[in-house]
Every structure is written in C-alpha cells, then in structure tokens.
C-alpha cells in the first residue's frame, strides 16, 4: 500500500517539478530579454559567441546540406522519371529544402553541435562556481554570459539554415543536372516558377528564426539550471539535445500547419 502511495507521490513530484522548470525557464527568458542592451554596449561579447556558435557550425551544416540535397535529388529523380516529370526535380528539391529540411535539420544539427556546447559551457561555469563569483563581484551573469550566447544563437540559426538550403540546392543541381542529365534550364526554371519568395523563402526563414530562439533558449537554460555536479552537467547536455529535438519537431508541425496548411 505504501508503495502505491510512494508511486503516486513520485508522479506528483515529477509533474510539479516539470511545471516549476517551465516557470523557471520563462523567468529566465524574461531576464535574458531584459539584458538585451548588453549586446549593443559590448558588441565584442556577441562577436565572440557568434564565432563559437555560428562559425564553428558551418562545417557540419555545409556538409549535411550538400549530402541532403544530393540524396533528395537522387531519390526524387527515381520517382519522377517514372512519370516523365524529371523536369520538376529542381522544384521538388528546392521546396523540400527551403520549407522543411533546411530549417528542421539545421535546428537539429545546431542543437547537437552548438546547443550541447552552450549547455556544457554554462553548466561547467556553474560547477566551477564562476557564476556565483560573478554575482559576488556585482557582475550580472545574464548580461555577461547568457544574453550574448542567446543572441548569438538566435542570429546564427537563420544564417546557417540559409546556407544549408543554398548548398542543398547546389548539391541537388550537381546530382540532378551533372550526374543524371536533367535539363539545366528546366531544373532552374521549374524551381523559380514554383518557389515563391514570400510563401516559401520568407516562411522558411521565419521557421528558422523560431527554431533558433527555441533551441538556444533551451540550451542556455539547461546549462544555467544544471545541477552543479559533473553528473548534473552531463544530464543537462543530454536534456538540451532531446528537448530541442522534441520542441523543433513539434513546433515544425504547428508552423507548417499555419503556413502551408491550406484552408
């Protein structure tokens, strides 16, 4: 009997804990947004974080974009050629990249490459008591540590997604036109006539901005909220990647339904 009560109590504790975390997360975001001024005052802080968050992620984004574009082109060709519609290859590759693959895959890779690093870095600052030390010295860690990292992620993410899509289209062109012999004119003209600037490109950019905010928010918050132990940091890093993936995929469905849902 007491086992059952313990189980129910444990369940309740977990629910209360996760709601508390949600509350802390939102208070944290509010504090971060209130510290926005620092990135204009000390621009070099932002530049330094843009380097570690954005520049260092280019490599994996570029390589993934190229291979995803090439695979899309290869797979799409095999299906389309049966209907004699291989001219639509460019359109298919560009639409799937710009609308879905670009923002979503970039966000997932970004969470793995940059998000986990952010969490570990901030978590370790907490373990080594750098954050409390800052507070003792009357240095606001939100301004010095959190806000620059948050905005670096928010700015980098759309740029990385754009690079991913552009390189992906190029990879699709390489395989479709150079390797499989689809007509280059048809490839580009079908793409241009079917991909709209506002409905596709701008919506894709909006998606990547939303994902950038969410992934970076989760990453810095998990680091800031990590238990100040080695184990706590490792658990926080895992949570960043898992929660970011859930958040990105869930939000993607909602955003897609809003943007392209028809009706």
């Amino acid at each position: 009997m007491s086992g059952l009560i313990d189980a129910i109590a444990g369940l309740g504790r977990r629910v209360v804990n996760s709601i508390m975390r949600m509350g802390r997360g939102n208070i944290f975001l509010f504090h971060t947004l209130m510290s926005t001024g620092i990135i204009f005052k000390e621009f070099s802080l932002l530049v330094k974080q843009m380097y570690s968050v954005g520049v260092l992620s280019i490599q994996i984004i570029a390589v993934s974009g190229l291979t995803v574009g090439m695979v899309l082109s290869l797979q799409g060709y095999n299906t389309l050629v049966d209907f004699g519609a291989e001219q639509s290859l460019g359109q298919m590759v560009a639409l799937s990249l710009v609308r879905e693959m670009g923002p979503v895959l970039t966000a997932l890779l970004f969470a793995g490459r940059a998000g986990s690093a952010l969490t570990a870095e901030i978590g370790l600052m907490k373990v080594t008591e750098q954050l409390p030390a800052m507070e003792i010295m009357a240095v606001d860690p939100y301004r010095k540590v959190i806000a620059p990292r948050f905005y670096a992620g928010v700015i980098s993410m759309p740029l990385l997604a754009a690079i991913f899509s552009a390189i992906g289209v190029f990879g699709g062109y390489l395989v479709g036109v150079e390797l499989l012999g689809v007509d280059a004119g048809g490839f580009w003209s079908q793409m241009q006539s079917q991909v709209g600037l506002y409905e596709d490109i701008v919506n894709g950019v909006i998606k990547s901005i939303v994902f950038g905010i969410v992934v970076t928010w989760i990453a810095v918050f998990e680091g800031f909220d990590a238990a100040p132990t080695t184990e706590g940091v490792s658990r926080a890093t895992t949570r960043t990647v898992v929660n970011s993936a859930f958040a990105v995929l869930g939000l993607d469905f909602i955003l897609t339904a809003l943007m392209f849902g028809g009706a």
Partner: protein, 154 residues
C-alpha cells in the same frame, strides 16, 4: 584562440556567407527575379479554356522563355478566360502572332506558346492576340475519343 581582429573577420565572413545564401535563395531559387523587365510590355489573349494555367506560368516562343503570365480573369461578356502576360521588351512580335496553351511533359506545368505570324506591324502594350488555341483538357479528349470510338463501332 584568435586575435580580436581575426575573430571579427571570421564572424564577418560567416554573416556575409549567410546573407549571400539568403540572397541566392531569394533571387535564384524563388521567382523574385522571375520577370521584372522594365521595358516589358503586356499583351492580352482570350482562351476558351485555360485548363490548369496559373499566374507566373512561362510564355515561350520556339521553346525559349520570353515572358510570364501576369493575370488571369474571366471575360464576363464572352465568358472566356482573359489572360494577360508580360513579354520582355527586347522581343518584338508581329500582331498576327497566335497563342496556344501547352503542357510540358505528360504531367508537367502548363505554359503559353506563341507562334509568330508574318505581319509587319508589331504588337504593342495592351494589344489583343486574336488567334488562340485552348488548353487540352484530358477529360474532354478522352470523352471525344470514347464518343468517336462508340460511333465508329456502329
């Protein structure tokens, strides 16, 4: 870690590459650059049936894209489809040019194909193309085929 100048340079390059990728998406992948010829002129043609023709569909002559459809509406007097399309300024076409709606490939998109006439007078902005050929609607063609087949059997 780098010196400050080098750090700023690499981040600057990153931002430039990102913006260039965005520009590439906007100009080359989407139809933003599609057809914004300032010297372009608009020509109107009426079709009995335009099938699945859409705004921004290409206008071709001899297989070369020379313009795009800018507006589609219904002519309330003749109950025909009124299609306006924009042609590049460098293309001067005779007034007796004819227009037809074709499909690229079996399931491809529909486009307007222009066939030049022999007149010396050239089309101006706002002119009407008088000779037009409707889109081939698969159901109609199938219907005609079945009808003629049935008639032939008797």
């Amino acid at each position: 870690m780098f010196s400050k100048a080098k750090l700023e340079l690499t981040v600057g390059v990153f931002v430039v590459i990102g913006l260039a990728a965005l520009l590439f998406l906007a100009m080359k992948v989407s139809s933003f650059s599609g057809f914004s010829d300032e010297n372009g002129y608009e020509v109107v043609a009426n079709f009995e049936n335009i099938g699945g023709l859409k705004v921004r569909a290409p206008v071709m002559m001899a297989g070369v894209s020379i313009g795009e459809v800018s507006q589609i509406s219904l002519d309330t007097e003749t109950y025909e489809a009124r299609v306006e399309f924009l042609l590049g300024g460098q293309y001067k076409l005779p007034v007796d040019t004819s227009a037809a709606i074709f499909t690229s490939g079996l399931l491809g998109e529909q486009y307007i194909s222009l066939e030049p006439g022999g007149d010396d007078v050239m089309l101006k902005s706002g002119d009407h193309i008088k000779l037009s050929q409707s889109a081939m609607v698969l159901e109609q063609v199938l219907g005609q085929f079945l009808f003629s087949k049935a008639a032939g059997d008797e």
